[in-house]
Structure formats: structure tokens, C-alpha cells
């Protein structure tokens, strides 16, 4: 690993420690929940990080599927641009603004919609070909780790505050559980599949999962309106000082997630190179000059 990694690791550790300090000592105590609410500074940033990683996996999977044929690749490119353009314009139309939940500013939604083509093209540029699939695997795995933390800290938070570990109508936690299940099944498929097209199959599953998520959200949302249940984590607005600490905490975890992803990605690169070397070995079979079939450990031009 380059010199950059250890430096970033130290910086991230410092940032995490600072975030912890802010979370425990600087942030004000909650009027209703007391000090227990500080779990939020680990629970929510982990959730946001997990969702971001799953989003990256979704974009990478779509791109991987689309890049199979040049026609689909171009089609996907234009569809993504169209989504960006239409989405941004729609946010400023009065009819659409009526549909937005209260408190959401149209510019915020527009920026989020713009994230789709932005991520699509950035990912396509920096992760060509096989690296796209490696990114998908990396983001899925690290996403599951962060999602596990959300599902563990959620009930730990709920118990002292609401007296219950779990509420099936809690739309956020339940949706997160389904998302976790989908991505664990994605990882299992990758591990158990012995097809040459494993990566394509996994990408297809990721797309199915992404299509599923809004449906999950709506089904639980309606169920909840019929059977009102407590929402763990609370809704409503937040004290700006708390929000500030929350964002600091999120930044720290994002840096941490970035480093973990980088490591996992490097691991995958190494693993595939070794696999190729093994395959070459069994193929070549004779005493070839090592220089030709030597281990390509340095950055290859793939």
C-alpha cells in the first residue's frame, strides 16, 4: 500500500476520536431521552453510510449489466442523463412540489436526484471493466457491515427509550432489515455461485433488490398507518447543535468507510491476480521463462 494509506488511517482515527468526544461531551443532553440518545451519533451515520454504499453498489451493478452490449451501454447512459435532467426540472414544478414531504426543500431533492448521473459517470470513469464488479462487491460487503451495526444499535437504543426491542411497524428499521437481508443474499449468491457469469447474476440480483426497496417502504408505511407504532429514533426537527455533531460523526465514519472499502478493494484486486496466475500456471504447464508469465503484482493496464 502506498504511503497515503497509513497517513489517512491516522487522520481518520483522530477524526473518529474527535467525533466521539463531540458526541459524548459536547452535544447537549436530550430533554426526553437523557444521555441514551447519544447512540444516535453511531446509529444514524452508520445508516447513512450503509445506504450510500448500497447506492454505489446499485449504480455499479446497473452499469456492469449495461456494459455487456454497446447498445445497452449507450441506452443506459442516455437514460441516466434523462433522469438527471427531468428530475432536476421536476423539482421546481409546483405540481411536483406539492408531493414532496413537508420540510424537504426542492433544491435538496434536486441535488439528490443529480447524484444519480453524477455517481454513474464518476464510477464509470474511475472503475472501468472488471473493476466495476469489484466495486460492486466491495460496496456490498462493507455496506452489510455498516447495516449490521444499524440493526444492532437500533434495538439497543429502542429498549431503554421505548421499552421494546423491536416494532414491526417501525418503517425505518424494518426497511433497513429487508435491505440487509437482500444484500446478505447477494453476498451468499456470489460465494455459492460457480457460474462463469456469477458477476452478471449478482448484478441482476442487486437490480432486483433496488427495485424492491421502494415497495418495501410503501408496504410497511401503509401497514403502519393502520397500526400506529412507535418510531425508534424519533422524527421531527433536531437541535442544530445535535445536527452539527451528527454531521461531524458522519464525516468521520465516511472516512473510515472509505479506508475499509479501499482495503477490501485492494484485497479483491490481489485475489483476482492470484487466481489468474493460478489459471495461467495450469494452462502453461511447461517451464516457460518466468519473465513472460510472471506474477503481475504491479498495476496492470486492464
Amino acid at each position: 500500500m502506498k504511503r497515503l494509506f497509513p497517513i489517512l488511517s491516522v487522520l481518520t482515527a483522530v477524526l473518529l476520536a474527535y467525533a466521539l468526544y463531540e458526541a459524548l461531551l459536547v452535544a447537549p443532553t436530550d430533554a426526553q431521552q437523557g444521555d441514551v440518545y447519544r447512540i444516535i451519533y453511531y446509529h444514524v451515520p452508520s445508516a447513512w453510510t450503509a445506504f450510500l454504499l448500497f447506492f454505489i453498489n446499485f449504480i455499479a451493478s446497473i452499469q456492469y449489466l449495461a456494459s455487456a452490449k454497446p447498445s445497452t451501454k449507450t441506452a443506459a447512459k442516455w437514460i441516466v442523463i434523462a433522469i438527471g435532467v427531468v428530475g432536476v426540472i421536476a423539482c421546481f414544478l409546483p405540481q411536483v412540489q406539492h408531493l414532496l414531504p413537508k420540510g424537504m426543500r426542492p433544491s435538496a431533492v434536486a441535488t439528490t436526484v443529480l447524484a444519480i448521473p453524477a455517481f454513474y459517470f464518476l464510477i464509470g470513469k474511475f472503475f472501468p471493466g472488471e473493476r466495476l464488479d469489484m466495486l460492486a462487491l466491495t460496496s456490498a460487503e462493507v455496506g452489510v457491515v455498516f447495516c449490521t451495526i444499524v440493526l444492532v444499535t437500533g434495538p439497543i437504543w429502542a429498549r431503554p427509550v421505548w421499552g421494546i426491542w423491536w416494532a414491526p411497524g417501525d418503517i425505518r428499521l424494518t426497511s433497513t432489515l429487508v435491505l440487509w437481508l437482500i444484500y446478505v443474499s447477494y453476498l451468499v449468491l456470489r460465494r455459492f455461485s460457480n457460474s462463469a457469469q456469477t458477476q452478471m447474476l449478482a448484478a441482476a440480483l442487486a437490480v432486483f433488490g433496488a427495485l424492491d426497496v421502494p415497495l418495501v417502504y410503501f408496504s410497511i408505511w401503509f401497514f403502519r398507518t393502520q397500526h400506529p407504532q412507535p418510531v425508534i429514533g424519533g422524527g421531527g426537527s433536531m437541535d442544530p447543535r445535535m445536527l452539527q455533531v451528527l454531521l461531524i460523526s458522519w464525516m468521520a465514519f465516511l472516512c473510515f468507510a472509505f479506508l475499509v472499502c479501499w482495503s477490501r478493494f485492494r484485497l479483491e484486486v490481489l485475489r483476482r491476480e492470484i487466481e489468474e496466475a493460478h489459471a495461467m500456471e495450469s494452462l502453461v504447464g511447461t517451464g516457460e521463462a518466468p519473465s513472460k508469465a510472471s506474477l503481475p503484482l504491479s498495476r496492470s493496464s486492464r
Binding site: 449489466l65 455487456a68 429487508v178 437481508l181 437482500i182 446478505v184 443474499s185 451468499v188 449468491l189 455459492f192 455461485s193 460457480n194 457460474s195 462463469a196 457469469q197 456469477t198 452478471m200 447474476l201 441482476a204 440480483l205 437490480v207 432486483f208 433488490g209 427495485l211 424492491d212 415497495l215 418495501v216 410503501f218 408496504s219 410497511i220 401503509f222 401497514f223 393502520q226
Partner: protein
């Protein structure tokens, strides 16, 4: 379009005829479905006050397990006789095979459901307090939701180790919104306490979205080695 439906129909008829001739698989699945209902009857007290509220859930969980046994053998015959390879090189449209299998599974699972339902009605003394006719769209849309994804994931699991466990592992998480809708909708109709409209619409949306996705991606699955 003509060729698509012609091939689909022909494949379906062939499947049904083959299945009918060797009734082993059919019979064991029927018996399994019966066992599921009986186990539920012993585990969840039918005489309890709240039984009407949970019957909807029990029925659909029972259907879910029964349909998994049916789905697992979807492609078994094709694998045994290398039919899949023959299909891959034939000019017949890929989607025709998928539709044939999905529709065949739909009929098969519907038969299982038709046999399990009277048992549930008898054991749990089910009386429908809401609009009973709405149970039909829920049954049809719900069964299709399970079958369309199940057929697709069964094909996906063909190239995996532990094929039989892979199918439910992939199917269950994705099916959660459909299951929630089916159960909540059925409960709503049985108890008459709320309207099932939203759930029927959600099931319809689910079916449209995933049927499209399956049809779009099946070609790739079929040609996977």
C-alpha cells in the same frame, strides 16, 4: 408476438402432460402442503380469540413453503436431460421458456393453494367478515408475485452449490413487500376491519415491476454457464 405465445403454450402443455404422467413429485408436494397446515393447526391455537387476525399470515406462510417445494423442481427436468442447452441454441425466444415455466408454476401452486385453503377454513373456522370477492385478486396477484420471482431465482440457483436452499434464500427477502401486502390484505378482508385496496394496488405494482424485470433479464440467466 405470435411465436412467443405459441412456443409458450406448447412448452406449458408439454410440462403439464409430463407432470401429469409421473405424479410422484405432485403427490409428495400435495402431502407436504397438507402437513404444513396440520403443523400450523397444532402450533397456533385455532380456538384462540385472535386466531382470525393471524389466519391470513398462516395461510400465506403455508403457501410460501408449499410453493418453494414446487419452484425447486422447476428446472430439474430440463437439467436432467440437457434440455436447457437445446433450448439455448434453438431460435425460440428466451422469454417463451420463462413464461411457460412461470405459468406452469402458477397453475401448479394454485392447485396446492386450492387444496390447502379448505383445510385452513375447516381447522380455523374461517368466516370472512369483509368483501370476500377481494380475496380472489389478492390470491391471483400474490401467487403470481411468488411464482414469477421464484421461477427466475430457481433459474439463477441452477449454477450454485446448495441449489435447494439458494432459492428460498434469494426469494424470501425480495418477496417481503409482496408477503406483507398479501398477509395484511387477507387479514383486512377476513376481519373486515380495514380496506384491502391499497394492498391490492401494491401487489399489482409489485407484479408489474418484477414481471418486467424478470422478462428483461431472463435471457442473460438462461445463457449463463
Amino acid at each position: 408476438m405470435n411465436s412467443l405465445w405459441a412456443v409458450t403454450l406448447a412448452t406449458m402443455v408439454k410440462d403439464i402432460r409430463l407432470e401429469w404422467r409421473s405424479k410422484d413429485a405432485l403427490n409428495s408436494m400435495l402431502f407436504f402442503s397438507l402437513l404444513v397446515v396440520v403443523i400450523f393447526m397444532f402450533s397456533f391455537d385455532p380456538l384462540a380469540e385472535e386466531s382470525r387476525h393471524i389466519v391470513g399470515g398462516l395461510v400465506w406462510v403455508g403457501f410460501l413453503f408449499a410453493s418453494v417445494t414446487a419452484l425447486n423442481q422447476t428446472w430439474a427436468r430440463e437439467l436432467r436431460n440437457q434440455v436447457l442447452d437445446a433450448y439455448r441454441v434453438s431460435p425460440a425466444p428466451d422469454n417463451a421458456l420463462f413464461l411457460a415455466k412461470a405459468l406452469g408454476n402458477f397453475i401448479f401452486v394454485s392447485v396446492l393453494e386450492a387444496l390447502m385453503t379448505p383445510l385452513f377454513v375447516i381447522f380455523y373456522n374461517v368466516r370472512v367478515l369483509g368483501p370476500a370477492w377481494q380475496l380472489l385478486p389478492i390470491a391471483i396477484l400474490g401467487t403470481w408475485a411468488l411464482v414469477v420471482n421464484g421461477t427466475f431465482f430457481a433459474a439463477m440457483s441452477l449454477r450454485t452449490r446448495s441449489r435447494e436452499i439458494m432459492l428460498p434464500l434469494l426469494l424470501f427477502p425480495i418477496s417481503i413487500p409482496a408477503v406483507v401486502s398479501m398477509v395484511a390484505g387477507t387479514t383486512a378482508i377476513l376481519t373486515g376491519e380495514e380496506s384491502a385496496h391499497f394492498y391490492i394496488v401494491l401487489l399489482l405494482t409489485y407484479d408489474v415491476v418484477f414481471t418486467t424485470a424478470c422478462l428483461a433479464l431472463f435471457g442473460m440467466i438462461l445463457h449463463a454457464e
